[in-house]
Every structure is written in structure tokens, then in C-alpha cells.
């Protein structure tokens, strides 16, 4: 039998690892309730805060979009970054490592599986949010909007892969790091308000989180009039930065994963459980 090529192993691994994520979600459907209705209620809370302080209606749209994107951020934090920790605990990690495949392929498979579930949540929140709250959108450019969305995901999941290499080494400490990154990123990335409100320099710093520029660009493309006074950078610049972040994070993730794996192997942490 012909030996499989490196690329064959890579792509088969991606599909193989994505499979449990996609199938698992279908076999236990309770997540449909928790991942659609509850986030919608959470988003609604912020909508009503703006209504209580008599904000312009476009701000409702900002919140709905931000709420939809939280699905991806939470997926990256908990189902990408933390996943290798869980895999180690169940004994799957060592089986992945001794296989002639790369952890990048494993993580990519997880990412694809995770994106499927998160997209259901994001679409539900967006659709129902826009309908229930009667938000009006004026789409400037569909290709640009799609481009921004896809590049944001690429960069975001690249960042997730980078985080996962930390978990390989730091175990439960890194779980706390994930927890730590939740609310502060909701703040600095402008999930619920235009990031420009933070000031230029803080917003620039926050741009390292791909969702910051992704959200700002998507808001500009959907609510151009209101965002004229609240936008951070031009959409084209934001597109360029997102592309660079995507390539950068993926490259860093690859380097970090092999470094962390080697370090974990030296310190004997690849098979420690029960942390």
C-alpha cells in the first residue's frame, strides 16, 4: 500500500478531528437552547441599556453584531485554547502526539468543527436580534463584508491555536488565563460599543485581538452613517491588518506549538493529568 503523503495526512486529520465536533453537536441537541436563546437574551440586555439611556437605534445594531461575535470569541477561548488541556486529561493528547500528524492539523479540525457550532449561534443572534429589534442595515459592500468576516475568523482562530500551545504547558493555570480574557476583551474590543470610544491608542492596542477590527469594519459596512463619526480606521486598512494578523498568528501558532511540545516533552507535562 502506498504511504500517504504529508498533505494527505494533514487534510485527513483535519476532517477526522472536525468530525466529533460536528457530529457531537447533533447527537446532544440541548446546546441549541443554550447557544441560541440564552445569548439572545444576553444581547437584549445591552440593547435595553442603550434604550434606557436613549441611544440612537444604530447602537442596537452594534450590540446585536457584537453579541453575535461573542460566539466566536468564546469558542476560541474555551473550545480551542482550552481543548488541548481537556484532551490531555482524557488521554487523547498522547495519542495525537504519537501519530504522524501535526497538532496544527488537529487544531484546525477543532476550529472547523467549532466554527460550525458558533456560526449557528451567531446567525441565530444576528437574525433574531435584527428582526426583533427592527434594526435597519445599509450594506455598503457584500464582498467586503464577507471578506472582513472570513479574515476575522482566520485571524481569530489563528490566535486560538496560539493560546492552545500555552495550555499544553500550563494546564489549569492557562484555564484561568482564558477566564481572565473573557470580560476584558469584551471591553477593549468594543463588543458593545464602538472601540473608538476607548481612545485611539487603546483601540490600536486592542487591535491585536482580531475581533476589534473585524467588528469595527463590519459596523462600518452595515451602519455607514452612524459609524462615520465612530469608526476607528478605514475598512480597507482594517482588512489589510486582519489579513496580516491571520498570517502572523498562524505562523506564530506553528512555532509556538512545536516549541511548547518540545518543552512539555522535556518537562514531562504531556501526560500529566488531574490538574
Amino acid at each position: 500500500m502506498r504511504s500517504p503523503t504529508r498533505w494527505e495526512i494533514f487534510w485527513r486529520t483535519v476532517m477526522g478531528r472536525a468530525y466529533p465536533r460536528v457530529i457531537g453537536a447533533q447527537r446532544e441537541r440541548s446546546w441549541l437552547f443554550f447557544e441560541t436563546l440564552l445569548p439572545l437574551l444576553q444581547v437584549s440586555a445591552f440593547v435595553f441599556i442603550y434604550r434606557a439611556i436613549q441611544a440612537p437605534p444604530e447602537f442596537t445594531g452594534f450590540v446585536v453584531l457584537g453579541g453575535a461575535m461573542t460566539a466566536y470569541w468564546l469558542n476560541v477561548l474555551w473550545s480551542m485554547a482550552a481543548q488541548l488541556y481537556w484532551e490531555k486529561e482524557t488521554g487523547n493528547l498522547e495519542l495525537y502526539i504519537i501519530a504522524p500528524t501535526s497538532l496544527m492539523a488537529i487544531l484546525l479540525g477543532m476550529a472547523i468543527g467549532g466554527i460550525v457550532a458558533s456560526t449557528v449561534r451567531a446567525v441565530a443572534v444576528t437574525t433574531f436580534g435584527l428582526l426583533i429589534f427592527r434594526v435597519e442595515v445599509s450594506v455598503v459592500s457584500v464582498p467586503q463584508l464577507l471578506g472582513v468576516f472570513l479574515l476575522t475568523l482566520l485571524a481569530l482562530y489563528g490566535l486560538g491555536m496560539l493560546f492552545s500551545s500555552l495550555f499544553l504547558l500550563y494546564g489549569r493555570q492557562a484555564w484561568h488565563l482564558s477566564n481572565l480574557l473573557q470580560e476584558p476583551v469584551f471591553l477593549v474590543s468594543g463588543f458593545y460599543f464602538p472601540v473608538r470610544a476607548l481612545g485611539f491608542i487603546p483601540a490600536l492596542g486592542a487591535s491585536v485581538i482580531p475581533i476589534t477590527l473585524g467588528l469595527d469594519a463590519m459596523r462600518q459596512l452595515l451602519f455607514p452613517t452612524m459609524m462615520a463619526q465612530f469608526h476607528f480606521l478605514d475598512v480597507r486598512i482594517e482588512l489589510g491588518v486582519l489579513a496580516a494578523l491571520g498570517i502572523g498568528f498562524l505562523w506564530l501558532a506553528r512555532r509556538a506549538l512545536s516549541y511548547m511540545e518540545a518543552l512539555s516533552r522535556r518537562e514531562g507535562r504531556l501526560t500529566i493529568r488531574g490538574q
Binding site: T13, P100, T101, R265, L270
Partner: protein, 343 residues
């Protein structure tokens, strides 16, 4: 069996540095493996026998690239495990005992298929192998069951299949029958024997603390204790090394302080004792049969009653006792030895 080496280690060591609060008796370094030298030719079913904590799993982890050595070198399929771990992985697979790997929500077939994808095996070949192997281990009727519905034995059978699915050149079996019932263990051992017999180009490294498993399956056995290989030969040769001595097993009513009673007796090389159901089982390795009557006298004088007496052929456990100074079985709460100066 070929003369080509499937695995080789040279002065292989692994030292862990313990944190202060975890250090045993003040020792900051834990020597898990201590300058191990091994050569395993292709086609061999090689056994590594030793108690818990001896270093068996540490050795396997190094050879399977999960752990880096702190000293020495190791090669698997001619590839240095520390320099080229990724290359090594093309040649190996591993099955561990007591595993809980896999995804509960997936079926047996799905879990196995997923792992074949990590090795680049095409779907058709994967499905065929899965079916064949599941039939052999008697799990084919549970192929569509979700993993969390399986018993421990079934789960281990599935893990077994996962190890063999990729048809590796070198297979590591780390206490594969741990915690399994007699029937399941028997099935899996039969499977291993058959697999090796039909494939002279494949090599298996098996770690176990079950003597009979090592005797039944292995071409050669290395006895490992405290990170060091104490002996390495075929089971037959290892047992023959004890043929000069005589081995007796006595069962007596419970007696106190057996170490004090027997340690000064002439002709007693080594002994161990176990308390079983209110009786004491004594296991002696004697210089010759003349050393037996004084033992019986001591038992009588200490108000013990002899229940049974058996003369035994040396077993690997006896070899272990003679090398290490105590028995292998972990459930022995009060094993003791005489330090074996020949008298």
C-alpha cells in the same frame, strides 16, 4: 527474527526534579530510568517486567516521543527519538491499559475511523480494517454503540483495535490487560500472539507486571526495577539461572514477624511472605533441600501449623525475587526478605 534492530537504547536516563514539598525523604531528584541499555531486534515480542514505579511506562513514553530523556540516547526504527520525533511516529503506535481516551458521544466505529485519519489511511481501507479487527476481538456487534455505553473490557478492546489499525512496524503495549477480566485478557493475549506470529517484520514492546503474561507471550524479557534493567534474557534462560536453587512454597497459619524467624536460618537465600485470608504464604529460595527441615522446626516452635508444602519450578517471580529481594505483587502488605548471603 531478524538481526536488524527495531529499538535500541544507550545509557538511557530520565531524571525528574521534584519540587521541595513533593520530595521524598528530602530527595529532590527522582530517577525514573537509570542508564538503560537495550537492543530489540525486528520481529521480537519483547517484555518489560517490573512492579509499579519501576520505570516501564517512562521508557515507553521516551520511545514513543512523549517524553524526552535527560541522558543517553534511544532509536526507534533507526531514528533518534529526541532528534526526529516526528519521523519516529510513522513507524509506531501505542496501547495503554486503563485508557479512557476517545469521545463518548461517538460510536466505536467513528472513534476508530477518526484515529485512522491521523495516519492518512483512506476511508475504504480504514473501514475494512476496522471491521476485521472488531470481529477478531469480538466487538463487531457493538460497532455502532457509543463509547460511553461500553464496559471497561469493551473499551480496552476498542483501544486494542486502535493500536493495530494502523499496522505499525513497532507497537508499544503498556500494561494492556490492566484491570481486565480473565476472559478478556486471554482474548487479547491470544490476539497479540497471533499478530506477531503472522508478521515477522513487526516488533512489539510489552510492559506488564503479570508474570504469566510475560512468560506466555515474550521471546525475551527484561526485568526492570528502580529504573534499572536487572536482567534480560529469554524466560527459559532466566528461570534456568535459578535451577541451582530450590524453591518451596509453604502455607501456614498466621505467624508473626516471619522476617525475624527465618532470616538467620542457614541455606535460605531469599524469601517473601504474603498474608492471604488469615494464613501466611511463605515463598523460599533455598541453597538446597537440606535447608527445609530447620524452617519446619521454626514454624512448629512459633506455634504455627503447616497447611501445605509445595516444591516449585522456578518462575519469573522467583527470578525477580532473587534479583530484587522481594516479590512483585503490590498487594503484599508485609513482604520481607532475608538479605541473601549464601550460607
Amino acid at each position: 527474527m531478524s538481526t536488524e534492530l527495531a529499538m535500541k537504547t544507550e545509557q538511557l536516563s530520565r531524571i525528574y526534579k521534584a519540587k521541595k514539598r513533593e520530595a521524598r525523604g528530602g530527595e529532590r531528584e527522582i530517577i525514573a530510568l537509570d542508564r538503560v541499555d537495550l537492543e530489540i531486534p525486528t520481529g521480537e515480542l519483547f517484555g518489560l517486567l517490573g512492579p509499579n514505579g519501576a520505570g516501564k511506562t517512562t521508557l515507553i513514553k521516551i520511545l514513543t516521543t512523549l517524553l524526552a530523556p535527560t541522558g543517553g540516547r534511544a532509536w526507534v526504527a533507526g531514528v533518534d527519538v529526541a532528534q526526529n520525533p516526528w519521523e519516529v511516529r510513522h513507524h509506531i503506535n501505542m496501547v495503554s491499559g486503563g485508557e479512557s481516551s476517545g469521545y463518548g458521544l461517538l460510536t466505536v466505529e467513528e472513534n476508530l475511523w477518526m484515529f485512522t485519519q491521523f495516519y492518512g489511511i483512506d476511508g475504504k481501507t480504514a473501514r475494512r480494517r476496522i471491521r476485521e479487527l472488531l470481529e477478531i476481538v469480538g466487538l463487531v456487534d457493538r460497532a455502532k454503540s457509543r463509547i460511553y455505553h461500553l464496559s471497561t473490557g469493551m473499551r480496552q478492546k476498542m483501544n486494542f483495535v486502535r493500536g493495530f489499525l494502523t499496522d505499525p512496524e513497532i507497537l508499544f503495549l503498556d500494561e494492556p490487560t490492566l484491570g481486565l477480566d480473565v476472559q478478556t485478557s486471554h482474548t487479547l493475549r491470544g490476539f497479540i500472539k497471533d499478530w506477531v506470529r503472522k508478521r515477522p517484520d513487526k516488533t512489539v514492546l510489552l510492559t506488564t507486571h503479570y508474570m504469566h503474561e510475560a512468560e506466555e507471550l515474550c521471546h525475551r524479557v527484561a526485568i526492570i526495577h528502580d529504573g534499572r534493567v536487572r536482567a534480560c534474557d529469554t524466560p527459559g534462560n532466566l528461570k534456568r539461572s535459578l535451577q541451582r536453587e530450590v524453591v518451596f512454597r509453604l502455607r501456614v497459619t498466621a505467624i508473626a514477624n516471619p522476617e525475624k524467624l527465618f532470616q538467620h536460618l542457614r541455606g535460605v537465600q531469599r524469601f517473601s511472605h504474603t498474608d492471604i485470608n488469615g494464613h501466611t504464604e511463605l515463598h523460599f529460595i533455598l541453597e538446597d533441600e537440606n535447608a527445609l527441615p530447620p524452617i519446619l522446626t521454626v514454624i512448629q516452635q512459633s506455634h504455627g501449623k503447616l497447611i501445605s508444602l509445595e516444591k516449585l519450578d522456578p518462575t519469573l517471580e522467583d527470578v525477580f525475587i532473587s534479583l530484587v529481594g522481594r516479590g512483585l505483587r503490590e498487594d503484599n502488605a508485609s513482604e520481607g526478605t532475608t538479605e541473601g548471603d549464601r550460607r
